[in-house]
Structures are given as C-alpha cells and as structure tokens.
Amino acid sequence: MNNLYFIFLSIIIILYILHSVRKEHLSIKTSFVWILMSVVMLLLSIFPYSINWIAQIIGVEYAPALFLTFCVVFLLILDFNFSNKISKLQEKVTDLAQEVSVLREKNNKDK
C-alpha cells in the first residue's frame, strides 16, 4: 500500500518537471537527467524488491544502504557536472565582458 504513495509522488514529480519545461522555467536539456531519475524512482516504487535483487547481485547485505549510496553518487555526479558548467560559464562571461570593454573603447574613439 505504501508503494502507492511513492508511485503517486513519482508521477507528480514527472508532471512537475514537464510543467516546468512547458513554462520554460527549465531547459529541455537540463530536464533530461531529472526525468531519468524520476522514471527510476517510479520503477523502484512499482517494483520495490528490485533494489533487494540488485543488492544481492552486487553483494550488499543491507539493500537500503545501496539505495542511499546510489542517491549520494548521483547527487555528487550532478554537483560535479554543475561545477564544471559554472567554471566554463565564468570563463565565457569574462571573455564577453572583456570583449564589450574593448568594443566600447573602440566605439568611443570612433565618435
């Protein structure tokens, strides 16, 4: 019965992500990873024993620990990915600002 709540929650999350894309609050590209995780969450809610099965294959005794490890690893990868993107964006903003300054100076001279 508890699964029903999680299934419902997963569907709500998927719908909310799609709604955010529709309203252009979230880009299609960024939404991919969130939709992917929501679908995984939905599948785990429908087949809750699948995590036990995976834990058995990998050799983890306590299945919920495996689930939490997956969550932490996912969030770390996501965080690293965002840090990577922020660094690149910072570099590009600097480039743009310098280019604007040079152009402004050139423009003033032409006047």
Binding site: V21, I28, K29, I35, D95
Partner: protein, 240 residues
C-alpha cells in the same frame, strides 16, 4: 521589389572546404548575400573567408553549430532579410540546389523548405545507420504531426521572414536543430515543404557527428527532445 536573400554558413575549422563552397555560391547564386559564422576556428577559416570578400562574424568562443546558426539568423533579422538559406561549410550542400529551395519557398508560400536527400532517390551515398536514424525520426514526425518529412535531419533549409523572426527569438535554441525543431514548427502551425536535392559527402575534415559516442548521444538527445517538445506543445494554441 527584389527579395533580400542571405546564405548563412556556420563554420568551424573548415579551411580545407570553405573556399570552394564560397566560390560555388558566388558563381551560382550571385544575387544572395553570404554570411559565414566562424565559430572560433583554430585554423585559417576566418582569413580564407575574408580573403574571398565575404562577410564573416567570428564568435569569441566556440558556441557550437546551433548557436552559430542562430547568430546568423539574428543578423538576418536585424538587417531585414526576406529569406535565409542555411548551408554547411563542408561542401555537402550544393549551391545550385539551394536555388531550388529559394524558388520553392517563393512559389509554394510555405514557411520552411527543406532540401531532402530521401524524398526522391537522389543517389546520396548515405551510411546505413544514418539512414535508419533518419527513418526513425521520419516516423516520429509523422506520429506527432501527421505529416511526412522524409529528411527531418537535413540542415539544408530555406526560411522565410516569419521563421527568421521566430528562430532568432528562441531562448533555448536546440543544440541540434533537426527533427525537434521540425516537430515544434509543425505543431505550432508553420508550413514545411520538402524539395529533393542532391548532396555530396564531405571531402575533408571530420563531421560533428563522427565517432561512436557522438551519434549515440545525438540520437538519445534528439529522441528525448522530440518527445518533450511534443508534450510541451500538446494542446497549445497554434500560431496561425
């Protein structure tokens, strides 16, 4: 009044191909202006373009294919061009065939004309997996929009003023503007037509879809984007 036509060519490290492409365009479509968007090439692309007296916008960092195209579209909008023809810098698109697109868009009064390799057998030596990918997206377009577009992955297109305006305003211009954009435009009520054209294979350099990982990434991204765009536009009021 004569139409203002602009040919947009995004180029990244195309020093071996660009000169031939520019000369061909100058010879075959002499009434059109040419704009090369040099996407921060590390070779002599820019020098070659300027040596050929062609307008060249150089991005200050590499923004990739789609953003280079959008830069050109913004230029076209600001300079009040009536039509834009998108061509590749690798020599795949033939200038004489571009004229067909322009004549068709004027004749049919549609918004976008796509130069298609597959609407009629034109002898394009297409790799097997690419053909399968194209077929898959053709089916997707037919499923979502109920219109047959045989080559939705073709970047060889002619756009009218309304589309130039629309594309230049898109905040999140797709990284690969192919089937996803075709689906979005059809769902929003824009009219698209295909014209059979001949194309060549690139002579020098490597394609942006070369290798093994890149095409797989492209297919997943394209498939996901098509589905989300369909859901995004589902039930929305059409533009026209």
């Amino acid at each position: 009044m004569k139409d203002k036509v602009l040919i947009i060519i995004p180029a990244y490290n195309e020093e071996k191909n660009i000169e031939k492409v520019l000369k061909e365009i100058k010879k075959d479509i002499n009434y059109a202006d040419i704009l090369v968007i040099n996407d921060c090439s590390t070779d002599n692309t820019r020098e070659i373009v300027e040596r050929n007296n062609v307008k060249c916008i150089t991005n200050i960092f590499n923004m990739r294919y789609a953003m280079a195209i959008q830069t050109g579209l913004k230029y076209a909008r600001d300079n009040k061009y009536d039509y834009v023809i998108q061509m590749d810098a690798d020599g795949q698109h033939i200038a004489k065939e571009a004229e067909k697109l322009y004549h068709e868009i004027k004749k049919s009064k549609v918004d976008i004309v796509i130069g298609s390799r597959y609407v009629k057998e034109m002898g394009y030596p297409c790799p097997f997996f690419r053909r399968i990918g194209t077929k898959m997206f053709e089916l997707l377009v037919r499923l979502f929009c109920h219109q047959k577009i045989a080559d939705p992955l073709s970047g060889f297109q002619c756009l009218n003023k309304k589309v130039i305006e629309k594309y230049s305003k898109i905040g999140e211009y797709p990284e690969y503007p192919d089937a996803n954009l075709v689906i979005e435009m059809l769902l929003q009520g824009y009219k698209i037509k295909e014209v059979p054209v001949k194309m060549r294979l690139r002579e020098n350099g490597t394609s942006m879809h070369s290798g093994i990982i890149k095409p797989i990434k492209y297919m997943i991204e394209q498939l996901y984007t098509c589905i989300v765009i369909f859901l995004k536009n589902f039930g929305k009021r059409r533009v026209k």
